[in-house]
């Protein structure tokens, strides 16, 4: 049965392997032909910032994986407006084109998905 999944990304890719594990999960779920969307909030929006060089710290660069998600037919990428703004970021600073959503709309967004997963 096809279900809709929303992955909530709320930490940076420098915070342990949480994002890497979430990406593995996202690709697995999408490979099983499920409908997947991603929501970036709080420090999670940093994981989409352009020009990252985690290799300097001997960390894996996960940004190419976000690019590759397009091939997995990920439905939508949402990013919270307020999270971007307070960090001095705009959608132009991001590696992906995202649909911006404001804080007051988040609670209702969740109700539109069958499954919420935390990354």
């Amino acid at each position: 049965m096809k279900k809709s999944f929303l992955y909530v990304i709320q930490s940076t890719s420098f915070d342990g392997v949480r994002i890497q594990e979430a990406l593995d999960e996202i690709m697995t779920v999408a490979a099983f032909d499920q409908s997947v969307s991603l929501l970036f909030i709080d420090d999670g929006v940093y994981s989409l910032k352009r020009g990252q060089n985690p290799e300097i710290l001997n960390l894996k660069n996960v940004t190419p994986i976000f690019d590759a998600l397009a091939m997995y037919e990920i439905q939508q990428f949402f990013a919270e407006d307020e999270s971007l703004k307070i960090r001095g970021l705009s959608s132009d600073d991001l590696i992906l084109s995202v649909k911006s959503i404001c804080r007051s709309e988040i609670g209702e967004l969740w109700d539109k998905f069958d499954v919420i997963l935390t990354g």
């Binding site: 007051s104 988040i106 969740w110 109700d111 499954v115 919420i116 935390t118």
Partner: protein
């Protein structure tokens, strides 16, 4: 929908952000260090009281007791739940999000 918050509201802003984002009718459960957010008279109490207007806010009683916070010290409107009720809340919620 159930929101789980486990960090102290004086350590980071997860609890306040969760209250701002939850839609009316949704439930927030405070566990571990987040139970300090249920206490009266703290600097986050106004934000929690505001949230209580539209949301159901619960707190895990064993985590309160362990920290020496008595029932009369928590904000009016916050419901104390035991482990069994925690399981019921989780089992009866179609969606759960943990504020890590």
């Amino acid at each position: 929908m159930l929101h789980l918050v486990k960090d102290s509201p004086f350590e980071n802003t997860k609890l306040v952000l969760c209250i701002q984002r939850a839609a009316p009718g949704q439930t927030i459960l405070l566990i571990e260090e987040a139970v300090y957010g249920a206490k009266r008279g703290s600097s986050v109490a106004p934000a929690v009281i505001k949230g209580l207007g539209a949301l159901s806010i619960c707190v895990l009683a064993p985590d309160l007791e362990a920290r020496g916070i008595l029932a009369e010290e928590i904000l009016t409107g916050i419901r104390r739940v035991n482990y069994e009720e925690f399981v019921d809340l989780a089992a009866n919620s179609k969606r759960i999000h943990t504020w890590l």
